[in-house]
């Protein structure tokens, strides 16, 4: 069971890495990050379930990851809005070009 869970988590993480590295648009990069956090969440709960004897700190870790996701999303969107407002750019390359 643990094997299945960890392989699934690894696969989600791999897709997240691919997305975060390959995508040009800010919001799509954020989706990659969220997928990576999703995998982390699954790993955390797997260990809590299998190896910690029900230590509630494992559950707490999941909640903390959730909070990180929310914070990342809120600040991320706010920054995208601010950048778009000032630079009219929504993809990373454009931002570089504008800076030069």
């Amino acid at each position: 069971m643990i094997d299945i869970l960890l392989v699934v988590a690894a696969a989600i993480f791999g897709i997240g890495v691919y997305g975060a590295l390959s995508q040009q648009s800010f919001v799509m990069i954020m989706m990659g990050l969220e997928l990576m956090l999703n995998a982390a969440l699954l790993v955390a709960i797997t260990f809590w379930w299998a190896s910690t004897g029900g230590n509630p700190a494992g559950q707490l870790l999941v909640i903390v990851i959730l909070a990180v996701m929310a914070i990342e999303a809120a600040i991320g969107f706010a920054l995208v809005t601010a950048v778009y407002r000032s630079r009219k750019a929504d993809i990373t390359e454009k931002l570089k070009k504008l800076r030069n």
Binding site: M1, D3, I4, L6, V7, V8, A9, A10, A11, I12, F13, G14, I15, V17, Y18, L21, S22, Q23, S25, F26, V27, M28, M30, L35, N38, L41, L42, I45, T46, F47, W48, A50, S51, T52, G53, G54, P56, Q59, L60, V62, I63, L66, A67, M69, A70, I71, A74, I75, F77, A78, L79, V80, T81, A82, Y84, R85, D90, I91, T92, E93
Partner: protein
Amino acid sequence: MNPGPLSYFLVSAFGIGAVVSGWLVFRTDSMLRAAYWLMVSFVAVGAMLIVLDAQFLGLILILMMSGEMTIMAIFMILFMMNPAGLNPMTMVHQHRTSIIAGVGSFIVLAFVGVVAEFPDRPVPAGNATVALGEELLGRSMLVFESAGVALLAVMIGAIAIAAKQGRFGDAFDGSEEPSIDVETGDRS
């Protein structure tokens, strides 16, 4: 720890669902679909959590992500050109590197996961939500408090960053900087 065949089946099914929908996020042209494929991925992971006796956390994950992904969809449609993907498009860079990095991290992590041995100390029966609540108000009070304050900072920060310009006056007058006067600081 002795999960039955049903648990195996469900975990595998949801696991495949989570991976496939996660992959589809980057395969679709429609921003709406991308956001909601990501939500499906989260919901599938939430369902796996439920199978793993973390019913509360699984459901809370689904609850959180449904709200967050709709906001994600709204913002993606807001900022992406051609949000519905009516013209097929690929907006990727360093594609080969990304694929190698993605596959590489999968292989490494999966290898570690399969090979490594973990102590076998399963969750005892009992209400995990109560345990979590006690943890939150006991040992981990500090985490709880700081998360609360951090979220307040996020609320204020996000609004301040996102809505800084153009709130006062319409496009025809030209917008003016908001007056951040001293009394704000005093009040809050």
